[in-house]
């Protein structure tokens, strides 16, 4: 099984994702990495080897899955980011910083041509979720891990957050074209593409996958470090390549969120005690 062609591997991954795409929650509770391993046991040896690397060598214990609907990068990142704020030791300060960062993005959105009418609702939703970490809702509850999960499983709240991050990504690219233009291509055809077309069709449109350009723009806008672990079945020695997206000195943001990439899909990797 280790010698499946790349195309077959890709097909297998797509099938696994597709089978569970529509009935899977937008984001799930954490599952043991061994559950993911089992899914590949009948398939590809090289995937199993890489999953063992993640657990045995790198110490990851859980995977938190997102629905394979094309919004998975944005949803995973948002969840990992807010979850980190929720577990912060300096909660009050970190939440205040996060809210002022979200507010400070509005002039960038305006500069990129987004109408207030269009972005303000999405902005309100993400800010109110972050604020709820420290300020109780009228009903009395501050955000708990369970309430965070519930919010992200609610299509409306979850999609508002995804769309806000899409707009922020697009605005970051549009207001600094020189940094991104050399790396743009049409992900469907591989051809050259204008910055406006790229942002309109592949960033702002729901359900369109994120690639390196979107990831680096968004992590830059949120001033975040993250790493992406590439589980692709291509490793000769069974190791997994971790690619950092770094926007802060490592000391300012140790143990960054880790997203797990399988061709066409992002989930979150976790280490639980």
């Amino acid at each position: 099984m280790a010698d499946l062609t790349p195309l077959e591997l890709h097909q297998m991954t797509q099938d696994l994702l597709h089978n569970s795409a529509s009935d899977r929650p937008l984001i799930s509770d954490s599952a043991l990495l061994s559950v993911l391993r089992e899914e590949y046991e009948r398939g590809s040896g090289s995937f199993v080897q890489q999953i063992d690397f993640l657990s045995n060598i790198r110490g990851f214990t859980h995977i938190r899955r997102t629905r394979g609907d094309g919004d998975c990068f944005y949803r995973s990142l948002a969840f990992a980011w807010i979850s980190r704020l929720l577990h912060s030791k300096n909660q009050t300060l970190d939440v205040a910083k996060a809210i002022s960062l979200l507010d400070s993005t509005l002039p960038t959105l305006e500069a990129a041509g987004f109408e207030k009418m269009v972005y303000e609702d999405f902005h309100d939703v993400i800010v109110s979720i972050v604020r709820q970490i420290v300020v109780p809702e009228p009903s009395g509850a501050t955000l708990s891990p369970a309430l965070l999960l519930e919010a992200f499983q609610d299509a409306e709240v979850s999609n508002c957050i995804v769309v806000f991050l899409r707009f922020l990504t697009s605005a970051t690219i549009k207001t600094d074209p020189d940094s991104y233009l050399p790396y743009l291509f049409d992900p469907e055809t591989g051809d050259d593409i204008s910055l406006t077309d790229f942002c309109n069709r592949h960033v702002e449109a729901c359900g369109k996958e994120a690639d390196n350009v979107q990831i680096s723009a968004l992590t830059r806008a949120l001033k975040l470090n993250i790493e992406i672990a590439y589980l692709d079945g291509h490793s000769a020695d069974g190791s997994v390549n971790f690619v950092p997206f770094q926007n802060l000195p490592e000391s300012d943001m140790p143990n960054p969120p880790i997203l797990l990439y399988r061709p066409g899909h992002y989930d979150i990797l976790e280490k639980q005690p």
Binding site: M117, V125, D154, V163, N200
Partner: protein, 232 residues
């Protein structure tokens, strides 16, 4: 989060925004006081066959708006390659997979307005109209203009008399058959040629339309082929 739905908040704002914006000349009104079933109206763009016409669009705001696209179709009949001449259905990427929540009802209606300026015959909604557009532009424009006059209230050829009485006079000037010929984008001469051979009028109009027997393209179609089709 017990809030008004994203859809309700957005639609309310959009209707208000459109009402306050007098410069775009686009209006959005509720149908039967239902904020999710609306009628958008705009004018045909200048220097096109649609100039002076007033176009009504039926708008349905789906439950998952603004994450999913609005559903739009023309209420006013339009002769255009990307709009069904029968149902008003529209072929436009932003109403399908290129939709993004950045788009609003107003900006989508503006996109429809610019679709009238720049048809995309390679991705047609109405294949027959697209054929007409591709093969004989002049005749196509004439037909589109005629539809604009008849269905969208655009002023007539002379351009002078746009009053209701004037239009009635003009319409009255045309017999029912001439009107049917003009709406199909055909010429009286061509239709009469086959009617004179003894074929029924509506059969001739239907067949010539299907064969795109229009303008210069008529020269590419032999009489034998037309007759063969008429006999089918």
């Amino acid at each position: 989060m017990a809030m008004e739905s994203a859809r309700m908040r957005r639609v309310k704002k959009e209707i208000l925004d459109c009402r306050n914006d007098k410069s775009s000349n686009i209006s959005i009104d509720m149908i039967d006081d239902n904020p999710y079933h609306l009628k958008g109206t705009f004018f045909g763009p200048e220097e096109t066959a649609y100039e002076g016409g007033r176009y009504d669009v039926d708008i349905v705001v789906p439950e998952s708006y603004p994450f999913q696209p609005v559903k739009m179709k023309f209420i006013t009949k339009v002769y255009h390659p990307n709009i069904s001449s029968a149902s008003g259905a529209i072929c436009l990427d932003i109403l399908k997979d290129a939709w993004s929540p950045v788009l609003t009802l107003k900006s989508t209606l503006i996109s429809l307005q610019s679709l009238l300026c720049s048809p995309e015959p390679n991705d047609p909604q109405d294949a027959e109209v697209a054929k007409h557009y591709m093969t004989s532009r002049e005749s196509f424009n004439e037909t589109a203009r005629y539809w604009a006059q008849i269905y969208a209230g655009a002023p007539g050829k002379g351009g002078g008399d746009a009053s209701a009485a004037g239009k009635e006079k003009e319409a009255a000037g045309l017999s029912e058959s001439s009107r049917a010929i003009a709406l199909a984008g055909l010429s009286e001469e061509h239709v009469n040629k086959f009617v004179d051979m003894g074929f029924g009028f509506s059969k001739v109009v239907e067949t010539l339309s299907r064969l795109n027997y229009r303008g210069d393209n008529a020269k590419n179609i032999t009489n034998e082929r037309v007759v063969e089709k008429l006999l089918e």
